[in-house]
Every structure is written in C-alpha cells, then in structure tokens.
Symmetry: C2
DNA sequence: TCTCCGTTGCACACCAGTGTGCAATCTACT
DNA sequence: AGTAGATTGCACACTGGTGTGCAACGGAGA
C-alpha cells in the first residue's frame, strides 16, 4: 500500500516525537524565562520528561538555546519585514511593530538575558539580523526627522528595544497595559513628542 | 610606650592589609564588569593575589558582592540625597543627578546584571533604598507635571535608570558623550520634551 | 506476535567553582 | 633576634551542572 496523499501522512510515532520536541522548546522558554540559569534537568522535569530525553533531541545545551534563538529570529524578522513593507511614517511603523511583536518579545524575553553569560556570543550572533533590521527602521525615522538624532541609529535602536524587553520582563508584562507602556515609552525615547506618541497609540485597537 | 596622637596611627601592617582589601574590591568591579560570572579565582589573580587570600578578606562570594553593593548604595544615595536637597524642578534635578552619578553608575554597572543570577535576591534587597529615592524623585516630577504619567513612578524610575545603566554598559560608556546620551535619553523617556531636554543638558558644563 | 524506536533509569566521567585546613614563608613591629 | 600576622601554596571535600553509555521498558506498526 502506497501513500494515498502527496504528503506522506507522518506516522504517529514521528508526530508524538515532534510534539515532545516542541513541548521541550516551549517549556524551556518558560523555565529559562523565570531563571536564565536553569539547567537541562529543570527544563526536562518541567516538560514531563527525563533529562536524558532532552539530550536525545538536543545534543547540547547550546543546541537548545540556538534552536530557541532561531525560532525567535524567524518570528521577529517576519513581523519586522512585513511591517517595514508599508510606506507609513517610521513612528507609525514602530507602533505597529511593537504591537505585533509584543507577544513574541514577551515569550522570548529571556534571550536578552542569555546574550550575556556563557553562550552569549553565539546567541548574540544569531540575533544580529534583527538588530540590523531594527537599526534600519530607526535610521529611516531619523532621516525623515521623525526620530531624535542624539544617538546613532544602531545604539538608539538597541536601547529602544532594550526598553521594550525590560517592560516585557516587568510586572506589567501581561495584558495590553504592558504593550501600551512599552510602545509609548519607546516612542518617547526615540524622540517622538508625547502628544504625537499618545495619538499614535490611540489609533491602535 | 603609648600612642602619641589621638588617632592611633595605623600600623603599616593594617594599612597594607586594607590596601589589599580595597584593591580586591576595585579589581572585582572591573573583572565582574567584563564577565559577571567570573569566579573568585579570576578576581584574585587580577588583583595580584591568591584565591585563598580573597577568602581571607571575604568569607564567601556573597560577602564580596554584598560589600560591593553596599559601597554602591552609599555612594549613590549620597549623590541622590544631596541633589534632592535643592528645590529645583524635578527635571533639572534629574539632569544634575545623572551628571554626578554617571561615574558611579559606570563603575558599578555590573550590579544591574548581578541582580539576576544566584545572589540576585540579596543584591536586589540592598539596592532597595536607592530604588525608593529614585521613585520619589520621579513621583515629584510627575506631580508637578514635569514628567509623563504613562507609567507609575516606581516602574518609570526603574526603566529610566535601566536605560542609564544600559548606556553606561555600551560602547559610549567613556567620556562625556555617554553621559550626555544617557541624560537626554532618560529625560525623553521621562516625558520631557526634546527641546527642553537639550536646553537642560546644555546648561551642564 | 514480533520488531522498531522513543523513552526511561541508572550508571559514569568530567569539569568548574566554592569554601576550608594547614604548614610554610615573608615582613613589619618589638 | 624574635614574634605576630598577613600571605602563600597546596591539599582536600563538596556541590551542581554537562554530556555519554547502555540495558530495559513500552507502545505503535508490520
């Protein structure tokens, strides 16, 4: 008997294995989010699995971290390029970006802490493309006089999304309150006047 | 033979011991600043001393960290209370505060990273008084309509000096450029209009 | 039923850091 | 010269995490 469809209906073995793998990744985000120094054992038990099993899916801790980071980069760049496609002003684009990236930033907030520490360099490297896209957006805003120029675009963008992550990491992180706060605060620090900032955010649903 | 002066002229033994102790503390700031996970051994060799000697002065790693933190708290609160004594507007006070606290913040920038990690809770606790003083200042600014109110004073002050430390930790950290950038950026995020912010900073020497 | 294979449980070696103990050494003070 | 005390060098035990090896279990698929 051959496969009846084009896609070779994954055997349930494979599917359950992928589920395990995904669960480990998901849980790892939570656990590391609470404590960036959590070990493979902590992640394993949180995922309802034995440490040895985690090593079955990810040969090393760095491998797991890399996979998480790649996921994050994929999701963020997707949002960022989509948003950048519009020809709106840079500040409006920024607002839409934060609104859409907020859940993602909240999920992956731990990566900012992971940039320091043992595997920081590897993580940092993978995050590079995001940094560039972000700097481009800020640069565009500076060139059209929408954003302040007291700092070079590269650094300003770093600080700005550092703030977003910081708020995503704080008590406000849940609900729309955090998103609003992060958006307004980052706009302010990008040099957008308060009235304009509030108007822009007010437009958001 | 009794002491000839009121102050019992420290024997040079005691003095050189204190010098060693201070050198360890100073060097620890540098080493930990580059790598918050540096061990007692790294600190010791950087101080030109053996690991065992460090343990002679500080019974445990936590003890060393605590001492560093206490130093930082002392220095910062000194600046903060002094600055707060003036009856200037909150934004002007903030500018003076950043200007004077900048070298201190730069020296102790590692403490922000240390707030997470194994001994984070202890460090965090010691840093409490600084947080309060800072929140008070921001609150004063909000009450007199000088600072924005899109975030509660407690969080806004956290984010604001998070930014200051972030810049103190970046490439700009040296020279007056970093201080200017940190001041303006933090003012912007506190809701001070760009023109006013630049004017305020321009006043500074 | 039998086989494959993800999973488990336990073993181990390895590494890095922490904190302690103690004899030896060096030096400022008496 | 003698002594007290800071420092050294080396020892050790302990902890906690990493990564690997392997036999055994258990369920889905042939």
């Amino acid at each position: 008997m051959c496969n009846n469809g084009v896609v070779p209906t994954e055997s349930s073995r494979v599917r359950s294995m992928n589920e395990t793998r995904d669960r480990i990744l998901d849980v790892a985000l939570d656990v590391l989010g609470e404590n960036p120094d959590a070990g493979m054992g902590d992640i394993a038990s949180a995922a309802g699995v034995v440490r040895r099993t985690v090593y079955g899916h990810f040969p090393s801790r760095l491998d797991l971290l890399r996979t998480l980071t790649e996921r994050a980069v994929t999701e963020v760049t997707a949002v960022l390029t989509e948003v950048n496609a519009s020809d709106a002003e840079a500040d409006a684009t920024w607002v839409e970006f934060i609104a859409r990236v907020w859940p993602v930033a909240h999920r992956y907030r731990v990566l900012l802490a992971l940039r320091r520490g043992e595997y920081g360099e590897a993580i940092h490297g993978l995050l590079g493309p995001v940094d560039e896209l972000l700097a481009d957006l800020v640069k565009r805003g500076q060139d059209s006089d929408v954003f302040a120029q007291h700092l070079p675009a590269g650094i300003l963008s770093q600080v700005a999304y550092g703030v977003v992550f910081a708020i995503a990491d704080s008590d406000l992180s849940n609900g729309t309150l955090g998103a609003r706060a992060a958006t307004i605060t980052s706009l302010l620090m990008l040099g957008v006047p308060e009235t304009r900032a509030i108007a822009l955010v007010g437009d958001q649903p």
